[in-house]
């Protein structure tokens, strides 16, 4: 160990993190380069879109349903105290569409999609399947990484749309446990408080969330070294790092939206 490593506590993990961030940046640059090269692996891309969307949808919908229900039931008493019960549909829709929908959906997908990608690619790496693809003159980066990152980038905003819709529906159910408002009236009240400045940044944010989940999962899996234990580490690390990245991206996009 060098002098600086022994004198400064935490220096070694800090240096390791910076090196990891640099490696990830180079990995992402390679993705940007490869995504425009031909041939594009359409079959694998569409299959990954189907897998990510289809496998994640039930969990996303259940979570979104609970989210809308809980948010409404928790917020209602406070609004009633202020005599502002009528604002509940609008408050729920703005909260869900601007923040809770994209973030909660992304965190769920970081676990579902991110861990799957990390484990899958990590397992392929340790069993030489990626090497086998390379020596059979099929670009494994293009086939495995580019398709998965693009699929996650596209599917997450779609999942968020489904999640937001279900949340507002479940909010109506929760509202009508105490009140009496038709679904169409509830939706009208909910959507009337929304503007394009609420929807567009949220949609853009969810694109970046998807990209982060796909890129981090692929990076962790593709760069696995060692045996099967490291596959588990890659899967776990994909989830943790992607979740942190989601909150970090959220913080940045909120600042940008606030300035604009």
């Amino acid at each position: 160990m060098t002098t600086i490593e022994t004198r400064i506590p935490g220096w070694v993990p800090f240096k390791s993190s910076v090196r990891g961030a640099g490696d990830f940046f180079l990995f992402y640059l390679r993705f940007v380069k490869e995504v425009f090269k031909r041939p594009f692996e359409w079959r694998e891309f569409l299959f990954q879109c189907y897998k990510m969307g289809n496998k994640s949808l039930p969990l996303v919908l259940i979570t979104a349903f609970i989210m809308g229900l809980v948010l409404t039931l928790q917020t209602r008493p406070s609004l009633v105290n202020f005599g502002a019960e009528a604002l509940l549909p609008g408050m729920v829709s703005v909260s869900v569409i601007k923040e809770i929908g994209p973030v909660i959906t992304a965190v769920i997908c970081a676990g579902k999609i991110g861990s799957r990608i990390g484990a899958e690619l990590g397992s392929m790496k340790v069993t030489e399947q990626i090497d086998a693809m390379e020596v059979s003159a099929i670009n494994p980066f293009r086939y495995l990484v580019v398709t998965r990152i693009l699929a996650a980038t596209i599917m997450l905003p779609l999942l968020v749309v489904f999640a937001d819709t279900i949340s507002i529906l479940s909010s109506d159910l929760a509202y009508n446990s105490h009140g009496d408002m038709s679904l169409s009236r509830y939706f009208t009240a909910a959507l009337s408080k929304l503007d394009w400045v609420d929807i567009i940044p949220s949609f853009i944010k969810s694109i970046f969330f998807g990209m982060a989940i796909g890129a981090i999962g692929c990076y962790k899996g593709f760069t696995v070294e060692g045996g099967t234990a490291s596959v588990g580490t890659a899967a776990n690390s994909s989830v943790v790092t992607a979740s942190l990245a989601i909150f970090f991206i959220d913080m940045i996009t909120v600042q940008i939206t606030d300035i604009l």
């Binding site: 899958e120 397992s123 392929m124 069993t127 030489e128 399947q129 090497d131 086998a132 693809m133 390379e134 020596v135 059979s136 003159a137 099929i138 670009n139």
Partner: protein
């Protein structure tokens, strides 16, 4: 001569794995590289296909210096080289049929489904597993995985085959079957082969020429019979 390796050297983390290795492979020749674990055998074939970059030396395959070609040219060379990994390295999310169709879909798109299916049936027959198409890799035994791995490399009709420990982990009978299969394929398709192994029986069955590697250096080469008669005690230990 289809492969010429000259002065190949490679170091991993201060360990010099290969030290100025010279090797040639001629057309339709089976060369077996024998050596103990860690002697650098697998590194030679990984350098040949560009999975590992050598530190020094020249590798010429089909008359092309592998260090002087770009990625596209390297991939064109790779379609003429088959590589059988130690564990078969089958894509475990795909069935046997899909594993075999995968390289055809990428490199022989012009064949169409019917011709591709015919080729798949042919290679499965050649490796003795005509009914394995619908099976998943997890359902295959070690010997079956190696056979399907071999089928997947043969389907593109390579001119050179590289075998990384083809009989490791197999029982004696299955190892003998794999060795016989290697020999049959070489004779049928006139393939030049480089077989990395520490299995003496496999070497005896398949080798036209044996090269013995010790600590990253070639210590002797010749026919199996010539090498077996060596006076060197270390070399004799392989055959005892």
């Amino acid at each position: 001569m289809v492969v010429r390796i000259k002065g190949l050297s490679k170091t991993f983390r201060e360990n010099q794995i290969l030290k100025s290795v010279d090797l040639e492979i001629h057309k339709a020749e089976n060369v077996v590289v024998l050596g103990k674990s860690g002697s650098g055998k697998s590194t030679i074939i990984k350098c040949m296909v560009g999975l590992t970059e050598p530190d020094e030396g020249e590798i010429c395959i089909f008359g092309k210096d592998m260090a002087d070609i770009d990625y596209e040219e390297l991939n064109r060379c790779r379609t003429r080289i088959g590589f059988l990994f130690q564990g078969g390295a089958l894509y475990d999310s795909m069935s046997v049929y899909e594993n075999l169709a995968f390289p055809l879909r990428h490199h022989k798109k012009e064949l169409g489904k019917e011709k591709s299916d015919e080729l798949i049936r042919e290679v499965l027959e050649n490796v003795g597993l005509p009914d394995a198409g619908e099976m998943m890799p997890a359902e295959l035994s070690g010997g079956m995985s190696k056979r399907i791995g071999l089928a997947r490399t043969l389907i593109l009709k390579p001119e050179i085959m590289l075998y990384d420990e083809p009989t490791t982990g197999l029982d004696t009978a299955t190892a003998k079957e794999i060795s016989q299969l290697i020999l049959n394929m070489q004779r049928k398709y006139k393939i030049s082969s480089l077989i990395i192994t520490h299995d003496i029986s496999c070497a005896k069955m398949t080798a036209d020429r044996v090269v013995i590697l010790k600590d990253g250096t070639i210590v002797t080469e010749g026919t199996y019979e010539e090498v077996e008669k060596s006076d060197d005690e270390w070399i004799k230990s392989f055959f005892s």
